[in-house]
Symmetry: C2
Subunit: 211 residues, 2 copies
């Protein structure tokens, strides 16, 4: 079941945002497993590497000094500070993928989304995941073994302000059920690929019809 044809197409940046614990990272992982033509944007970050993370796959883990130099040399499409750590999206990676008709998935917060939309409004498709309840959010945060109690409390207090940004997104999903959420995101990906403006090969195709 594919909607592919051979027309050339411009890729898009699919942004998934949610308060911590609302499931965006889990949904993103499932999307990447089931939809081979979208790849994850790999951010550079100054935050410490976690046990199960791999450098160059999950993030590019860089020193604060390296990060500052990359900012100075304008290597980032967007960069922001979250929980005292720096995160940035390398420009070159994004530009090359979009021009080649490949889509890129971003697991970023509302600050990064705002910057991306400001810089490339027609290339961004944004989705906000809402938790079904704040209780579910807290349970998910507490189940993360590597987060300390104070991190849980800090994130819960931030959830309320993160939630307030749902109104800036193109699509809003309530993450009641992982499978439904994943299917919904897959539908959004498939339909966004069919948007007239992304199908750069259409004028040539229609001209060919008359030939």
């Amino acid at each position: 079941m594919t909607s592919d044809h051979s027309l050339s197409r411009r890729g898009f940046m699919l942004v998934l945002s949610s308060p911590s614990g609302a499931g965006k990272t889990t949904v993103a992982r499932h999307i990447l497993e089931r939809e081979k033509k979208i790849s994850l944007s790999i951010s550079a970050t100054t935050r410490p590497q976690r046990p199960l993370e791999t450098h160059g796959i999950d993030y590019h883990f860089v020193s604060p000094e390296t990060f500052s130099k990359m900012v100075e040399e304008d290597h980032f499409l967007e960069h922001a500070v979250v929980f005292d750590h720096h995160y940035g999206t390398p420009k070159s990676f994004v530009e090359a993928h979009l021009a080649d008709g490949q889509d890129i998935l971003f697991d970023i917060d509302w600050q990064g989304t705002q910057t991306l939309k400001q810089k490339a409004p027609t290339d961004v498709v944004s989705i906000f995941l809402l938790p079904p309840s704040l209780e579910v959010l807290e349970t998910r945060l507490r189940n993360r073994a590597q987060d300390h109690e104070e991190t849980v409390l800090l994130r819960m207090s931030q959830a309320a302000s993160e939630l307030s940004h749902w109104g800036e997104y193109d699509y809003v999903l309530i993450n009641n059920d992982l499978e439904v959420a994943v299917e919904s995101v897959l539908s959004i990906i498939r339909s966004e690929r069919l948007k007239r403006q992304r199908q750069e090969g259409l004028p040539l195709f229609v001209r060919g019809l008359h030939a």
Copy 2:
């Protein structure tokens, strides 16, 4: 596999357009069979009833006099003349469905689409179906037993000008394969339902999260 939740939602008008013979009526029929929450807009028309058509299901077949009266009394959201016959979309039907969160499928041409978009820009989702080639188009038109040779020739000559309107649509599909086309339209329907602006119940839901 559904993306439903209990939030109230405003319906949308899904417009399917294509040159005659590019398959829009067949695709529309499959969508209506597989997606129960969308119903066909039933137009009033002055064109003669065909053998397999049912009054009140396919069209409301009305006399030219009745049609004129409905135009005068402003009963139509849009109306147009196609191949010497009048077609019109009754306002009351559309308004009631959209407010109730039900989607309506329109099998109309670019003229009707332009009018709908002009009158209700945020409620219209438009899809243009392109034939894979003009040869396929002609074959399909010739296979319609009830169309006379002169009708086929007239429609072929009109296909070129109808094709020129693909650039006015939100989504463009090449109808190479019926199943792919139907799946593509279903993805568009599912994702459009998740657009933030259609989910009128969201502000209340988010307020409830904090309660």
